[in-house]
């Protein structure tokens, strides 16, 4: 985190779900922290370039706290994000900091809680929750700030497969219901690809490709990067290289079956 690369001007689009994939140590974490101003405001260092939002604000001049209503980040380890002694207070926390009136806080908590389906654990302490529940609480506590963009840094890393799937489904629902842009940095491509619309590929601190999911998956960069490619991808990639398969490599199983018919 102490070395920064040139941050190129990143324009943020509305209503998509980005999957950011890359080799470990490529700069994903750093880039994410550039997006809400943690870099350069919290982590200082050599920083060049600008991150601009659609409404003209940028991450150097606007304080992080103000940006938190536009861009929310959910980090990898849910335990280290839960700071209150119970779930309800946890969700209220960000709104408390923003000085939002109590009535409004109650209303937003209700919405956020129903969307993430955590009504049954409102009075529990953070360490009493399972990993999946903790991650949901973390997501709820950011959603409640009503950001237009939600960024998640490897949200399913510490979860078991079923929980991971549920969280990704949840994120998809959130995207649909709330019309927000979701950017996810992930290793578990098999779970994420079926929902992804855009992909940003990174290597050694640079963005080497950014485009439509289908285009990126079928490209050379995706093939050569050391990513945890889904089994479906590997299978169809081999068939494609043997010139037996000419269509686009499928991102999901239904797509795979369709392409074979």
């Amino acid at each position: 985190m102490t070395r920064l690369r040139n941050a190129s001007r990143v324009r943020v689009y509305k209503e998509e779900q980005d999957g950011r994939k890359n080799e470990t140590g490529s700069g994903k974490t750093t880039l994410i922290r550039c997006m809400n101003g943690l870099i350069p405001q919290f982590y200082t260092g050599y920083y060049k370039g600008k991150v601009e939002l659609w409404n003209g604000r940028n991450t150097v001049e606007t304080p992080i706290a103000d940006l938190s209503t536009e861009i929310g980040i959910v980090f990898q380890n849910p335990e280290n994000q839960l700071i209150a002694m119970n779930v309800e207070h946890e969700i209220a926390f960000g709104l408390e900091n923003l000085g939002i009136p109590i009535k409004e806080i109650s209303k937003r908590i209700k919405e956020s809680v129903s969307l993430t389906e955590i009504e049954h654990i409102l009075d529990k302490a953070p360490f009493e929750l399972s990993g999946g529940e903790q991650q949901r609480v973390a997501i709820a506590s950011i959603l409640v700030l009503e950001p237009k963009i939600l960024i998640l840094d490897e949200p399913t890393a510490l979860l078991d497969p079923y929980m991971a799937k549920k969280i990704i489904n949840l994120l998809n629902e959130i995207k649909n219901e709330k019309n927000i842009t979701i950017i996810i940095s992930e290793h578990r491509l098999d779970l994420l690809l079926p929902y992804t619309q855009e992909i940003i590929l990174m290597k050694c601190g640079s963005v080497i490709e950014h485009g439509n999911c289908e285009k990126v998956i079928n490209g050379k960069n995706f093939q050569t990067l050391s990513l945890n490619k889904p089994v479906i991808y590997s299978i169809f990639n081999i068939l494609k290289n043997e010139n037996l398969y000419y269509k686009n490599i499928p991102a999901s199983i239904p797509e795979a079956v369709r392409s074979l018919k």
């Binding site: 080799e23 470990t24 140590g25 399972s130 990993g131 490897e154 890393a157 510490l158 979860l159 078991d160 497969p161 079923y162 929980m163 799937k165 290793h187 098999d190 050391s226 990513l227 945890n228 490619k229 889904p230 089994v231 479906i232 590997s234 299978i235 081999i238 068939l239 043997e242 037996l244 398969y245 199983i253 239904p254 795979a256 079956v257 074979l260 018919k261």
Partner: protein
């Protein structure tokens, strides 16, 4: 290849935490020498408690464990850790030395070897794990992947007969996982018994011959991976999902692809599709 008496035998193992939680209930298990076994299950099912009994970190409240046909209840952790090496999930729970070399030497301290032999082993291990270039670097300055390698190296250098991994593929990219797979292949060639706790279904399906499924402190399945990971009931009780290949198999079956076979490996699936596509093009 396998010897007569299993290298690990667990009989009616119970473990209750001091605060009353039942972590292990009536565990019965045999693992033969040289086997490669996966342990899977929901978080909190008892997987980590189970492996902790193997090197004495946890002493069962009931039952007996035999390693190499000896009851281990009276043995100390230091003693058992020479035979059973456990590599835990978070490398930063153990890295502390001034240099990568010192980190390895620390692990070798408790094994009675003379200075020369320690140096030879250290050099050998640094080479084997491609960590030679970091020899003098502080272990805290390594990347996530490299520090995981170092954590593994610091147990393998002790040459235990039984090696246990807790989530070795977590946070690793494809290259690092490949390195890990080669590592366990090598260790198996040396007749080491390997146990892996993992959530990585694709990895387990492809590389682990045998899988033990746990739920609520009990073993609910124990058998060939391809059997165990294909049972819908078991999968839903252990918070897992079907491996992608199996999902693909079911989807194909549903859509009328009659000749698709259950429980194929990746290569078999590729061959199957190859045949279909070749037939299709030969018709054109």
């Amino acid at each position: 290849m396998t010897s007569e008496i299993p290298i690990i035998m667990m009989r009616d193992i119970d473990y209750i935490y001091p605060n009353g939680t039942e972590a292990l209930k009536k565990i019965n298990l045999n693992i033969s020498k040289g086997e490669l076994v996966g342990i899977m299950g929901k978080n909190g099912a008892g997987k980590t408690s189970l492996i902790r009994t193997l090197n004495g970190l946890i002493k069962p409240t009931q039952g007996n464990i035999y390693i190499e046909n000896e009851n281990i209840s009276s043995k100390s952790i230091a003693n058992l850790s020479e035979k059973v090496g456990i590599i835990f999930q978070n490398p930063f729970h153990q890295l502390f030395a001034n240099s990568v070399e010192d980190e390895i030497k620390f692990s070798l301290k408790s094994i009675s070897l003379d200075k020369e032999k320690i140096q030879i082993r250290t050099d050998h291990i640094l080479n084997q794990f491609d960590l030679e270039k970091y020899r003098t670097r502080s272990p805290l300055n390594l990347s996530g992947g490299e520090s995981k390698k170092l954590a593994i190296a610091s147990i393998i250098c002790r040459d235990p007969d039984i090696i246990v991994f807790d989530e070795p593929t977590l946070g690793q990219d494809a290259k690092e996982i490949e390195f890990f797979i080669n590592l366990i292949k090598n260790e198996r060639k040396r007749s080491k018994t390997i146990i892996i706790i993992t959530h990585n279904i694709e990895f387990a399906y492809e590389y682990l011959p045998r899988t033990i499924l746990m739920a609520d402190g009990q073993i609910i399945a124990d058998g060939p991976t391809k059997e165990v990971l294909n049972n819908e009931f078991l999968i839903s009780n252990t918070s897992l999902v079907l491996p992608q290949i199996q999902q693909f198999y079911f989807a194909l079956l549903e859509q009328g692809f009659q000749e698709v076979v259950d429980k194929m490996s990746k290569t078999e699936m590729i061959n199957y599709l190859r045949n279909i596509l070749k037939k299709r093009y030969s018709k054109i």
